[in-house]
Amino acid sequence: MTASAPTVTIRAGFIPLLDAAILILAKTQGFAEEEGIDLVLVREHSWANIRDRVALGHFDVAHMLAPMPIAASLGLTPLGGAVITPMCMGLGGNAITVSNAVWHGMTLAGADNSGDPMLMATALRQVVEARKAAGLPRLTFAVVHPYSSHNYELRYWLAAVGIDPRHDIALTVVPPPYMSDALAGGHIDGYCVGEPWNSASVVAGVGHIATTTTAIWRSSPEKVLGMRLDWAERNPEAASALLRAMHRASVWADSPKNAEAIVDLLSSTTYLDVAPSTLMAGLTGRIALGAGQPQLVPEFRYFSRRAATFPWISHGLWFFSQMVRWGQAELTPQTLEIARKSVRPDIYRRALGPLGVALPNASAKVEGTLTMETPVATASGRLFLGPDGFFDGRVFDPDLIEDYVASFEIKGPGPLEG
C-alpha cells in the first residue's frame, strides 16, 4: 500500500480500556494512515464526556458502550443527536467479580472455579437469601453505566435464578479503574466490568471472579464504534475508510504473536496504567479466577474472528429489549424502528465488502440457537460464527421482542433508592 498524506481528519474519543484496542491500534499500527486518515484520538474520563462530546460534534466517532448509540438515537441523552453503530469493537471480555467474603459464602453454597454461570448464580442466591433471613443489609453490585452491556448482563444473570436486581441487591455505578478499590474498601460487594479490572481485584487479593459474561451470553458483543449519524451521512468515504482501518487492526489484534505488543502499548501510563501481566490475562483469556493458577476461559474475547466486528441488528435489539425490560425505554413501533436503524450493517458491508472480507448474508440472527461453532452462508469466503446461547436456555428472536420481554418474570423499573 502506498502511503500518502492523510486526506481526512477523524476525531475519535475513547476511554482507556482493553476493548478500545482496535481503535487505538488503527492509529498506532498505521492502518488509519494507510487509508488516508489522520486519526486524532482523544482520551476521555467518563462515558458522559464521550456522550456529550459526540453530541456536540467534538468527536466524529467514539469508542462506546453498545447500548449508548441506541439510547442517543432514542433521545434519552441530555443533548440529543442520533448516533449509529456501524461496527462492533469485539466480542466478550467482561466478567463478574465478587468480594472475598461473598465468595466464601458462595463456596459454602457449592460455588467452584468452573465459572459456570448457573452454578455461581445459584450459590449467590443462597448468600443473598441467607443475608435477608439474618436481617443483614443487601449486597451492592456495581456496573460502569446504566446504558451498558455490563448492567444488562449482570441483571440478566441475577434475575435468571430469581435474584431481583431491583430489590434483592443494590446496584450502583463505579468507574472501571475504581472497582477494585471500591471492593477492597467494602463500598461494593461485587461488580461487572471489562478486563483488566476483574483480574486487578484478583491480583490485589480482594476479590474472586465468579463468572464471565461470555458464559452468560456466549459470543456476546462488547464495545462498539459509535458514529454521529449526520457525520456518517456527510462523510461516507471517510466512514468506510475508518472501518477498513479498524478491520485490519482487529485482524492484527487477534493474532497471538501481537499479544505482547498490544500489552506493552495498552498497559502503559498513556492508556490503562496496569501491570502488563494483569492485562495479558484478559487479552489471552488465561485468567486466574482467584488465588491459584490461571486457567483458560474458553471464548473469552475476540477482536476479529467469528465476525467479531460485525454489527448484528439482533445484538442491538437485545440491548434494546433489556432497556425495555428494566423500564429505561418504551416499546412502541417507533422506538423499535429507531433502535433497529441505529445498527448499520449496511455501512459495514459497504466498507468491507470490497476487501473480500467474508460477510454473513444475514444481518440479524435468533440469538441462542447456535450451540457450537457453525459455518454460515456468505457471499465470499468462509465464515464461522461462535455459539450464541444464553446460559438459562432462553432464545432471543429479534422479531418477537414484545413476547420476549413479557416472558420475564422479573422486569420493570426499579424503585428509587437510598
Binding site: 474520563h45 462515558w47 458522559a48 456536540l56 441530555p78 450502583t172 455505578v173 424503585p415 428509587l416 437510598g418
Partner: protein, 200 residues
Amino acid sequence: MGGDSDLRILVIDDNRIRASVIEEGLREAGFTNITVLTETRPTVRAIVDADPDVVFIDLENPNRDVLEHMFVVSRAIARPIAMFVDRSDREMIEAAIDAGVSAYIVDGLKKDRVKPILETAISRFNAFARMREELHKTRRALEERKVIDRAKGILMRRRGIAESEAHALLRRTAMNENRRIAEVAQSVVTAEDLLSGGKP
C-alpha cells in the same frame, strides 16, 4: 447588585486547587452558599447534605458517571436534576465543555438565574486552565535552562572556551540547524552521557 445568594451551589472537583479557585470566583460574584466536594468518591449523603440547585463537576472526573446515576436513581436527592437548563443554549453548553466543566441544574430553575453562575464557573475554569498552562511553561523553561547550563559546562570543559563562547556556539548551531537552543543543548548532553558511559 450582589449574587443570587439563595442559590445553593455544589462544586465537585478532586483537584483541590481548582475547586478553591472556582469557589473563590463564585464568592466574589456574590454567591455565598457553596459546598465543595473534593473526595474521590461522591456519596448520595454528601449531595443530600448540600441540597444543591446547581452542581458543577470537572470533566476530568470519572465520577461524572457515578453522579449522573445518583441523580437518576436516588430518592434522597429530592429534586430532579438535569444537565444544563435546556438543549437550545448550545453556546453556553459549548463554552462549559470547552472550559472542562459540566453543570447540572435542578428542575424548574430559571435560565436567567443560572446564567451568571455558569458564566462565573466557566471563566474560572478557563482561568485555571491558563494558570496550569503558564505553570507548565515555566516548569519547562526551568528545565530547559538546566539543560542549557549543563551543555555549556560540557562545551567549556571539552573545548576550553569561556561561557559566553559556549553560549554563542550553541546559539549559532541552533540557528544553522533551524532548531531551538534547548534542543541542541539536549543533544550535547545526550552525546556526553553516551560518550562518558553515564546515564543514557
